[in-house]
């Protein structure tokens, strides 16, 4: 046993005895990892103080010795042996094995090549641009795969996974209702309150109803819902698919002859495409209720006047503009979330990175798409 009897000395120590033509270094105390700092300091002191060679390291009084202590001794011995002979003496059989196991060797330094900042920056920009291009190509390719999977499901309705779609609908739409209602209601209140404060200056308070009605139905309802869904469900898709990929579950599906896109992704995207318009409708109604209450409280406009004026302000196409956009938003969110999920590699860090980028990309694309739709609808005068 290496342990015990001389653990009496609390600290690793070395006594250097200089005799005629020989130096003896007597080591004592525990040369172990918990005393690492002191081990290192003593080892350095030995290197600098030894003058006459040969040197003998006497281990007879040493306490516990572990790999760290043994390595430190071997390294010191190696450094000294550049100048003269250095040997180990009086090691117990176990210590001798340990000293042999930890014999000094050079480790290849893993020096990383140095880069200049400018080059690094340019490389970074280049990679980002190339990455964005690849994302676009990947997205289009994936859309194709998705459509072909959808067609297969239509041709063989037996392969349609109804229960999976219902289950996803519950997760995406039903469980998302409370938070979306709450947020939309509050945003409706806030927009209408600010509208009243500004329009009152022109004596045009009733126009706040036009403002609320058009803004909510055309833009706010669908935008708020899409952003919330990207955050709630997009992140969940990426995490689910990503961790399934990490645990080889996707490969397991593949070798069973099941198409992961058909099994995992089609039901999710279908549920999104159905669920997001439903949520958009609920969100718009909640925002209108919020706006109506605020105009009642701040603008003294009673609910029946609000409703009459709302009916005059908005037409069916105002409502449809919002609703038409919803399925496209759902498609974008779903495709980005699944692509990011499938891009996850082995590590937990990679999963986190892809979930974040799934949400960020989805929200960004939702807003860009909304802008494109605004231009499109303006161009066709809808």
């Amino acid at each position: 046993m290496i342990v015990a009897q001389s653990t009496l000395a609390p600290e690793p120590q070395a006594t250097i005895e200089r005799a005629e033509g020989q130096t003896t270094v007597r080591l004592s105390g525990p040369w172990t990892a918990p005393h690492a700092e002191r081990v290192e300091a003593v080892a350095e002191a030995i290197t600098s103080e030894v003058e006459t060679y040969p040197v003998v390291f006497d281990l007879s009084e040493i306490g516990r010795l572990d790999t760290l202590g043994a390595w430190a001794l071997n390294r010191t011995r190696h450094e000294l042996s550049a100048k003269g002979q250095a040997d180990i003496a009086n090691a117990s059989p176990e210590q001798a094995i340990l000293m042999q196991e930890t014999a000094y060797r050079e480790f290849e330094g893993d020096q990383k090549p140095r880069h200049s900042r400018l080059v690094d920056f340019l490389v970074d920009v280049g990679k980002t641009v190339a990455g964005a291009g690849k994302d676009l190509v990947g997205g289009v390719g994936f859309l194709g795969e998705l459509v072909s999977a959808l067609l297969r499901v239509i041709i063989h309705p037996g392969r349609f996974r109804g229960s999976a779609v219902i289950n996803q609908l519950e997760q995406i739409a039903y469980r998302g209702v409370p938070i979306i209602v709450l947020i939309s209601f509050l945003v409706g209140c806030i927009v209408s309150q600010q509208g009243i404060f500004q329009l009152i200056k022109f004596g045009a308070t009733p126009f706040v109803i036009d403002l609320i009605g058009i803004l909510v139905l055309r833009e706010l309802g669908v935008l708020l819902t899409s952003i919330m869904v990207a955050g709630r469900s997009g992140s969940a898709f990426t995490a689910e698919i990503g961790s399934m990929k990490m645990r080889e579950e996707i490969d397991a599906l593949r070798v069973m002859g099941l198409d992961p896109i058909e099994v995992l992704i089609v039901p999710r995207i279908m549920a999104l495409v159905i669920g997001l318009p439903l949520l958009t409708f609920i969100s718009s109604i909640a925002a209108l209720v919020g706006g109506g209450l605020t105009t009642w409280i701040y603008g003294d406009i009673s609910p029946d006047i609000f409703l009459t004026r709302l009916r005059a302000a908005v037409s069916l196409n105002t409502f449809l503009v919002g609703m038409i956009k919803a399925p496209f938003m759902a498609l974008v969110i779903g495709i980005i979330a699944t692509l990011e999920g499938l891009a996850v590699e082995g590590s937990a860090e990679s999963l986190g990175r892809h979930v974040t980028s799934s949400v960020v990309k989805a929200i960004f694309m939702v807003i860009v798409l909304d802008g494109l739709f605004a231009m499109f609808f303006a161009a066709i005068n809808y």
Partner: protein, 268 residues
């Protein structure tokens, strides 16, 4: 602690882990009941038992990862229930654990994984930190190239070795190995057994090894404890296991696979 250890050593054999009357259960199910077990300093204890009998549960109870309902567990002479958080921290650096799946941190390279406990507990210069990590990598038989690889780039055997290197990072006195040779090819498993035996000899380790590998039990374990029905069915060297009349032990150590191993051992 020092005094306790020395008085313990005065006895015949120094008990490093002492489990007494431990009961562990989940919900209504009791998994371990009135379990007693001693692990002696410097031995390699093989811990066997059928699947679902609670081998991992006992290991996790000793490590404090699963709460126990009754009983005491002493490690290095200290009752785990009496320890302050600081005392517990102190104790934890005296043991290393090799989890079944390796449990390497997936975001860190092998070298960084090994350095995690060292950075946390030891005050080392960067140079020594690197050198010791590389030394451990070589000691567990990994190629130095593996140092800068991520766990996802390693094979199963390499993951086990890297995880062992991390378990040994602080030169612990006790090493817990949870099925160290599972998922390795027979040659790799044999090498791993030799590695454990060598490390045990050179570093004076105490090894607590949960295993199903009959080869490991025959070749490296000093003593075997068999778990069943919530308690230790038998403990002792392999001969004791072979002589036992307990039906489960008979089928375990005299089954077809066991006979093959024994026959192989007789020839070799």
């Amino acid at each position: 602690m020092l005094e306790r250890r020395q008085t313990d050593q005065a006895k015949d054999r120094d008990v490093i882990i002492r489990v007494r009357g431990v009961e562990v259960g989940f919900g209504e199910r009791t998994i371990l009941k009135e379990l007693d077990l001693d692990v002696y300093r410097g031995e390699i204890l093989g811990f066997v038992g059928g699947s679902g009998q609670g081998k991992s549960v006992l290991t996790r109870a000793i490590l404090g990862l699963v709460p126990k309902r009754a009983g005491t567990i002493e490690v290095l002479g200290q009752n785990l229930d009496d320890l302050s958080p600081e005392g517990r921290r102190q104790l934890e650096r005296h043991w290393g654990v090799l989890f079944q799946q390796g449990a390497l941190f997936s975001a860190l390279t092998v070298k960084q994984n090994i350095q995690v406990p060292m950075r946390e507990y030891l005050n080392l210069s960067d140079r020594l930190l690197d050198e010791i990590a590389m030394l451990k990598i070589e000691m567990v038989g990994l190629n130095p190239d593996a140092a800068d690889k991520l766990p996802s780039e390693l094979s199963g055997g390499m993951i086990k070795r890297a995880a062992l290197a991390r378990a040994l990072a602080l030169d612990p006195e006790i090493v817990f190995l949870d099925e160290p040779t599972s998922g390795l090819d027979p040659i790799g498993a044999g090498e791993f057994d030799d590695l454990i035996a060598t490390l045990q000899r050179t570093l004076g380790l105490t090894v607590f090894m949960v295993t199903h590998d009959l080869d490991s039990l025959y070749s490296v374990c000093d003593r075997i404890a068999a778990l069943g029905e919530g308690k230790i069915l038998a403990e002792g060297p392999i001969e004791t296991m072979l002589e036992s009349d307990h039906p489960w032990l008979r089928s375990y150590f005299h089954g077809k696979r066991a006979r093959a191993v024994m026959a192989g051992g007789a020839q070799g």
